[in-house]
Amino acid sequence: MTAVAEAPSKIGEVPSFTVTLRVLRHLPADDGELAERWDEFQVQAHGTDRVLDALHQVKWEQDGSLTFRRSCAHGVCGSDAMRINGRNRLACKTLLKDLDPSKPITVEPIKGLPVIKDLVVDMEPFFASYREIMPFLITTGNEPTRERLQSAEQRERFDDTTKCILCAACTSSCPVFWTDGQYFGPAAIVNAHRFIFDSRDEGGAQRLEILNDKEGVWRCRTTFNCTEACPRGIQVTKAIQEVKRAMITRAF
């Protein structure tokens, strides 16, 4: 399959091109088993179209049974992490034209979480790890009447990890997580980092205790897959390193 850029017929018309999607399907059979197969679809795409638009085109015009999650369509809700050409990304943030449309684009569900159907995986194990690190502000003493004060520098200290949208692109790109589903995974550590380094929080020691577990931060092999995968540009590996360091120095 090659991409054919049609000559724009009218001035200003966005050129369109054809792309092939190769999608790894998982179709539930009557016995509850999932039948796996690769399907190919051709779609007509325009300059600003994203992988999500191509998937929609298939679902809406060719095969309504193709199943995936999506909501916001602009990279803020975290619904549509998938493996696109072998890399974890959000379908709604990946432009077709950036993917070499001359070759088929492969789309698979993210790895390491049980598949429910097609590109939809069971996110529960992912959220369970998240809940375990106590992802909420922990304080002691009386509530102040006004806001707690925090300097701009203190606020900046954990800014990067507040951006997480819980899409699981990082965790499901981690080779340690693939082989050991018990590992907390990068996303949980990112969210622990968000509180450990928040000057208002007093639960850091507890969280570090939790992450000191054998399935905790020490399993990280610093492969940087997570950082590359993160659609929010969070320095995931750096955050994990900072948590490791805090564990040793108890300075946070």
Binding site: W60, C77, D198
Partner: protein, 616 residues
């Protein structure tokens, strides 16, 4: 089928639903049902901020905020509700901070505040810094923070469950329940996406918090999942929808895509220009220019394009210019939206202006409630145990045009109020009996669509709906354009009866649910268009070119849209005394195939501020 019992069931896990859950779950047994994982809700897409007269950076007070809200809403705001919201705003922001929300800070370490359209000092003197924010991801932080607190409080969620029916002990849609008669909610019916199983939830209180309905339009900042479900469920059960004709078109959507670029871009100094590079807002709103309220800016932009001054090869958009701002300033205050321009349009906002055009953004109307969050079934009577909050509701604090940052505030203030009210009510109430077969209607509808061997595609109908709404019921409306939209909607209703889906399975059948959502969209669109046809005036977000002036004498009232049975033989068949028929001010009835849409009205609550001309 499974049956569950809770004191309070909350439908929706966006900002409003989770804020309600935090109150309700500490008081009584509570479940939250959501078609999305809570953190996927569209509250997370909100960017610019949440306003409160904290006066952290300059003098401000809640009375000024109330006035701005009333004026911004072109006086269709219920002023008692606006006052409650402006007063409680301060605690709403402080509550969030105490829950851990990472607001941007002032040099003294307090919550920082910035300017936003329509928010002024001393009744319009000058722009005031009232919006509390976390860069341009305030909604994300609110959604995350509320979810974190729900995790902490071990709130029970039913995620990826679609609520498809609301159970009430009287058939309001029949139109003969007299005023004053006691009507109670008894629960909801839900569909579990993963398995296709039906769940009936019996509850003493139900809180509807399902968000907006932007997907009736093609160009919108709203998520694919914002299909007006809660509004449509209420409407089908005979509960009126209030002020549906008022839809906000946000000026700065990325051209062609509708993805939002927050008003914060203009709050931080961005300027709108036409193809000639002219700062055209100087002509339309000489005092506050680019920071005029959204309805005014959106119309001005559309007008520039209409008069041939649009930019781009097709002259169909205008430009948002940030190039005079320091890149470091952009990175600190507007990181996400500038990234949207780079990712989706390949535009570098440091050096190039960004193509923008108005995008359907916010439903001012919705399910009518009072300030306790109780749902009204006419101008006076509440349905016992039924509450609504957030974008799905109409309190009405936004009137005919919402001010930026007032919705994140609304969901927090009225989400909290609804949660408390629902729990209090449940403490003193007993369960109301469920109907004999509570799920028959839902199951029948789903099965009909699912097993129909072939028929029309959902996507084709949805596209046709969205296109007619964009063409005929958007920023500019006329009687003719609205009549065209109405004719199209009626035709689509007929075609909808023949839709079929290709996915016949019970597992995660989103094909089927998209069909159901299309049904909701059609219902919502009809209330928007009929409301707009009846309102022969221009006010806030509703602009009729054939009636360009506001007409307080005839239209200073809320629209109430009721679905009622067809009359036996012509005419408007509902005895006076039955709900809906109040003052006959809006004697307008539109007949559809199986029902009629009857418009009633509800008085606007005016306390301090008499309507004035709205000038900026």
């Amino acid at each position: 089928m499974q049956t569950h019992q809770y004191d309070v069931v909350i439908v929706g896990a966006g900002g409003a639903g989770m804020r309600a859950a935090l109150e309700s779950s500490t008081r009584v047994r509570t479940a939250v049902i959501s078609k999305l994982y809570p953190t996927r809700s569209h509250t997370g897409a909100a960017q610019g901020g949440m306003c409160a007269a904290l006066a952290n950076v300059e003098e401000d007070n809640w009375e000024w905020h109330t006035f701005d809200t009333v004026k911004g809403g072109d006086y269709l705001v219920d002023q008692d509700a606006a006052e409650v919201m402006a007063k409680e705003a301060i605690d709403a922001v402080l509550d969030l901070e105490k829950m851990g929300l990472p607001f941007n800070r002032t040099p003294e370490g307090k919550i920082d505040q910035r300017r936003f359209g329509g928010h002024t000092r001393n009744h319009g003197e000058a722009a005031v810094r009232r919006s509390c924010y976390a860069a341009d991801r305030t909604g994300h932080m609110i959604l995350q923070t509320l979810y974190q607190q729900c995790v902490k409080n071990e709130v029970e969620f039913y995620n990826e469950f679609y609520v498809l029916d609301l159970l009430v002990d009287h058939d309001l849609a029949a139109g003969h329940v007299p005023e004053g008669e006691e009507v109670n909610v008894s629960g909801v019916v839900a569909y579990e996406l993963a398995t296709g199983e039906i769940h009936v939830f019996q509850a003493k209180s139900v809180v509807i918090a399902t968000g907006g309905a932007g997907k009736i339009f093609k160009t919108t900042s709203n998520a694919h999942t914002l299909t007006g479900d809660g509004m449509a469920l209420a409407y089908r059960r005979g509960i009126p929808l209030e002020d549906m004709e008022f839809f906000q078109f946000h000026p700065t959507g990325l051209a062609g895509l509708g993805i939002l670029l927050s008003e914060a871009a203009r709050g931080e100094g961005g300027i709108l220009r036409n193809a000639d590079g002219e700062r055209f807002m100087e002509r339309y709103a000489p005092t506050i220019k680019d920071l005029a309220p959204r309805d005014i800016v959106a119309r001005s932009m559309a007008n520039e394009v209409r008069e041939g001054r649009g930019a781009g090869p097709n002259k169909d958009y205008v430009l948002l210019d940030l190039t005079h701002l320091e890149p470091a300033h952009i990175d600190a205050k507007l990181p996400d939206i500038t990234e949207f321009a780079r990712t989706y349009l390949g535009i570098e906002p440091y050096t190039e202006p960004v193509p923008v055009y108005p995008t359907a953004h916010y439903a001012m109307g919705g399910i009518p409630t009072n300030i306790e969050g109780e749902v009204l079934r006419n101008s006076n009577d509440v349905i016992r145990g039924l509450y609504a909050a957030g974008e799905v509701a109409c309190v009405s604090v936004h009137g005919s045009n919402r001010l930026g940052t007032n919705s994140l505030l609304d969901i927090n203030v009225f989400g909290k109020r609804a949660g408390i009210s629902a729990a209090h009510y449940a403490v003193g109430a007993s369960f109301v009996d469920l109907p004999e077969s509570p799920a028959v209607d839902v199951v029948a509808e789903l099965e009909q669509i699912r097993v129909r061997p072939d028929g029309e595609r959902v996507a084709d109908l949805r596209k046709a709906l969205q296109e007619t709404m964009d063409a005929n019921a958007q920023v500019f409306r006329t009687r003719e354009s609205l009549q065209q939209a109405l004719a199209d909607i009626k035709a689509l209703h007929k075609r909808f009866r023949a839709v079929s889906v290709q996915d016949k399975s019970k597992t995660f059948n989103t094909d089927l649910l998209e069909a159901v959502e299309l049904g909701f969209l059609l219902d919502i669109a009809e209330t928007v268009v009929v409301g707009a046809l009846n309102r022969d005036e221009s006010r806030g977000g509703h602009f009729r070119e054939d009636f360009p002036k506001r007409d307080d004498e005839n239209y200073m009232r809320h629209t109430m849209a009721y679905r009622r049975p067809l009359p036996a033989k012509g005419g408007r068949q509902w005895q006076s005394g039955a709900d809906g028929d109040h003052d006959g001010a809006f004697a307008y009835t539109e007949v559809f195939d199986d029902y009629q849409l009857v418009l009633g009205s509800k008085p606007v609550t005016v306390t301090r501020y008499q309507p004035m001309e709205r000038k900026y």
